[in-house]
Symmetry: C2
Subunit: 530 residues, 2 copies
């Protein structure tokens, strides 16, 4: 049923000799199917065909792209239980979580379809001519966003559906009008092939040119590097590790013609809990925190990896309770051997600093498959500020408590944070001063501020910002979740004095798409009287 081949512009292809298997993280068993690393020739063909397809795709109407995205969602659903079974065998994430992720993936495709139908995403701005202005007449200038061109999207290990072949990067690039070449993650190649088939079917149904979509397999760094170096590629979307994202960023920046890399590279997602919140609802927060840290076996970009508290009897008791809950919970299975190896090494490095103590009883845990003990570390504000290595991410069910002798020490520790996707404060409603002070400091570090909740769970809504200052991302001015993610794959263009019938619909006098525009500095959907 699974071919192991690459999908190159509508054709399944296996030109190479390098193969790899997928591995079940619960049983450590290899798949019988072998997956073919894409060759340089296959990658070149995929990008050249994408560039060719772009000549047609960029002229498609937003409504046509909306219909295609909805078909893609339908086709993914039609894969049925086979998709969930395959994804579970390859990632060990479990049926409930994967069904939720599938729902998120198809919901996201349909939301982008809605955005396209609504139409204002092109950001039309029109300044009409002033023929009588002195000393010189003012021309008519009309601006909108247009698609960038072929986009490479790198599948993430930890979201085999929502951040992979049919995930947010692919959905937003298609919505923008860009062809997509997905580099599938080698952790779930079978899942990737299934979703690629669904997208191919949807594209064929809507008559998209063959190069609109390719999916290349690979467990070799060469595959991704070759893709990013291709002269006809225009942008890169990536979700994964700092090391991986930075490598692609460096490659793209060193091209003769540099291109943007929108890499979301995870983060520590600091959480501050006020003494009063601990006193009032410590038990609830402990349960919520343990759920958040262990969700998806701690392999979320938004896992809270740092918890700041003021050091007192209540917070000491709180940590003891959190450690107890962590010890009681059977560790989940990590995605693959590489994740386990990196996590083990990262945890060893943290232990070796001599700046942390352990609160969980990790030695007592019985482990099955690629799993790792749920782990709580503890350090002091002073050590945290002095030792930058304590800001290295642990991609797994691990979190670090930072004990601050005073609120001022807590502020200082927060000020020493690197960029992060999210930052959370738990405090009581009456603590306006403390909460405001914390958010004021945290907003300079973070893409999303959260009050009295947990950072895992990233809503797919218009207002979502999933990004943040480096090292959380290479592109803090963009988001990889939410509707504005489409802007990563568009660029503005202005039209000066063009005849109305040569302007794109979005900019024509009559406003045939009936979209919101800014005309002579007024938000309006009214037509322009020439």
């Amino acid at each position: 049923m699974i071919s192991g081949q690459n999908l190159i512009a509508g054709q399944w292809s296996a030109q190479g000799n390098e193969v790899f298997a997928s591995i079940n993280p619960r049983t450590k068993a290899e798949s019988t199917v072998r997956f073919f690393n894409a060759t340089d020739g296959e990658i070149d063909l995929a990008v050249r065909q994408a560039a060719r397809a772009f000549k047609t795709m960029r002229l498609t109407t937003a409504a046509a792209r909306a219909a295609f995205l909805e078909s893609a969602a339908d086709e993914i659903e039609k894969l049925g239980p086979a998709l969930i079974e395959m994804a579970d065998a390859e990632t060990g994430l479990g049926q409930p979580r994967l069904e939720g992720e599938r729902a998120r993936t198809t919901h996201q495709l349909r939301l982008f379809a809605n955005l396209l139908r609504e139409g204002a995403f092109v950001e039309a701005i029109i300044d009409t001519a002033m023929p009588n202005r002195t000393p010189a007449p003012r021309p008519d200038i009309r601006r909108m966003l247009i698609p960038l061109g072929p986009v490479a999207a790198f599948g993430a290990s930890n979201f085999p559906l929502a951040f992979s072949v049919g995930g947010g990067d692919t959905a937003s690039a298609f919505a923008a009008g860009c062809p997509v070449i997905v580099k599938a993650h080698p952790g779930h190649p079978g899942t990737s092939e299934l979703v690629a088939r669904a997208i191919l079917s949807a594209g064929e149904k809507h008559g998209l040119p063959p190069g609109f979509f390719s999916m290349i397999q690979g467990d070799s760094v060469r595959v991704g590097q070759t893709l990013v170096k291709h002269p006809q590629l225009e942008a890169v979307g990536f979700t994964g590790s700092l090391r991986g994202g930075r490598a692609l960023f460096d490659t793209a920046a060193r091209r003769p013609r540099p291109i943007p890399v929108f890499a979301e590279m995870g983060s520590l997602n600091p959480m501050v809990i006020s003494p009063r919140a601990l006193a009032v609802r410590g038990e609830d927060i402990a349960a919520g925190l343990v759920n958040s840290v262990t969700l998806g076996c701690g392999q979320f970009c938004t896992k809270p990896g740092l918890v700041f508290v003021v050091d007192d009897a209540v917070s000491q008791a709180f940590i003891t309770r959190v450690a107890e809950l962590m010890d009681q919970r059977q560790p989940g299975v990590l995605l693959n051997q590489a994740v386990l190896a990196h996590l083990s090494a990262d945890v060893e490095r943290t232990r070796a600093t001599g700046h942390v103590s352990e609160r969980t009883a990790t030695d007592a845990v019985v482990l099955e498959g690629y799993s790792f003990p749920n782990t709580i570390f503890q350090t002091t504000a002073e050590q945290f500020i002095r030792d930058e290595s304590l800001q290295n991410e642990h991609f797994g069910p691990v979190t670090l408590f930072v004990m601050c002798p005073t609120p001022d020490a807590l502020f200082e520790a927060v000020d020493s944070l690197d960029g992060t996707l999210t930052a959370t404060v738990h405090s009581e409603a009456e603590e306006t001063g403390l909460t405001g002070e914390l958010f004021s400091r945290l907003r300079e570090k973070s893409g999303r501020l959260i009050w009295n909740s947990f950072p895992t769970g990233v809503e797919v809504v218009h207002a979502m910002q999933h990004g943040g200052p480096y090292p959380a991302t290479t592109a803090p001015q963009t988001t990889s979740v939410g509707m504005t993610a489409i802007k990563r794959f568009m660029r503005p263009i202005a039209f000066q004095d063009l005849p109305d019938d040569l302007l794109p619909d979005a900019l024509q006098n009559a406003n045939p798409l009936n979209i919101w525009r800014i005309v002579d500095n007024q938000f309006t959907r009214d037509p322009i009287r020439p």
Copy 2:
């Protein structure tokens, strides 16, 4: 009157030993004033003070920043004729052009003030909570743009006012709420000092913290490189050469924490003239083209440097006429010796390709100061496509005609173009097919498409896009002119479930700023009923 010193966070400073003079390009005379290259220590202090000032500046209201920008415009005007005289002595651009440029500069500052008062530039998007959603309630998510932090702005040689100390980069960064460190262009250091004084006065008047603005001098590559490497810098604006812009881009990308470089690096600004347009109004186009090519002595980023025509008797006569007009016009004075040296070398390289013929009688010209003969080259579509070096920019009064045997050859030549700021088509109204075909191809190469006009002259309006695919810029998704230029220096942040009184004004339920927002996917200025 001119100190030659650096302005470091409110203090005039000359710690270094390296000095340089400014040179009058008409007389080649050196200024008596010596200007001090900023030392590494001065640069460090400027950026550290900017980072410190940012803690206050980011909390200023848009209305307060608007008042400051208007004061800056007033203070620049108050410099009076002394500013124009200084700028003319340093650049040779002449009083009328410089007075126009000053008007553009102050107009730009005031337009950003208007934008701030209108308020929608923060792009507020709000998705309200759905407490009853299943399986889990939806949180309240509110997103807006916030300022990035300290910005370095590099002054341009060719616009000593509008793209220099108080120019578009500075204005848009201040508007965003960012402190600015200007690296003054060594071609007009005295002009830079005068404008820096005006900005300092305006800042003091409005109580901005000292680090809000610094201006550093330097004729050494070290100064700019040290600035861009500073760990507390967040973004770079630049207008200048491809070599200079790429060097800064590379430095910024190689930092431990990369930062964006918004470099506008000039371009060829191709122009296509249809056979019918030549037949109907060749004489008008010839006059307009010669004006556009020689404006500011050809030192505009938007100078038309390539003209495509179909090769026939009419176009041959047209080129003869253009060359005649160019020969009749006394060459202007270039900005400085470096521009002359680069232009001479670039023209020699073009001649040495053996792929161009000369249409102007350049040997016959008497030259004064740093000037260069008005020059018209001619090549064929075939040679143009084959020899990529014919796409090197000549920064001066030089343009290249590309003779195309057929319209198809013309399309092919256009398809071989690199990225460019603008692309222009001259054609007749009834030639819809040809014009549409040309624009369809040119839009993939360009940031602005122009019909029946000339690319020099970039209106400062909301809809302006002054940018384009590399090598025109390092950041095709942004503009350096027009009101959306502010977005270069802002990033989105989302607030999840924050109490209303801890949200920024722009996101509060009552909409106290009365700005346009997208609330639950509807454009509205209505308040939200909680």
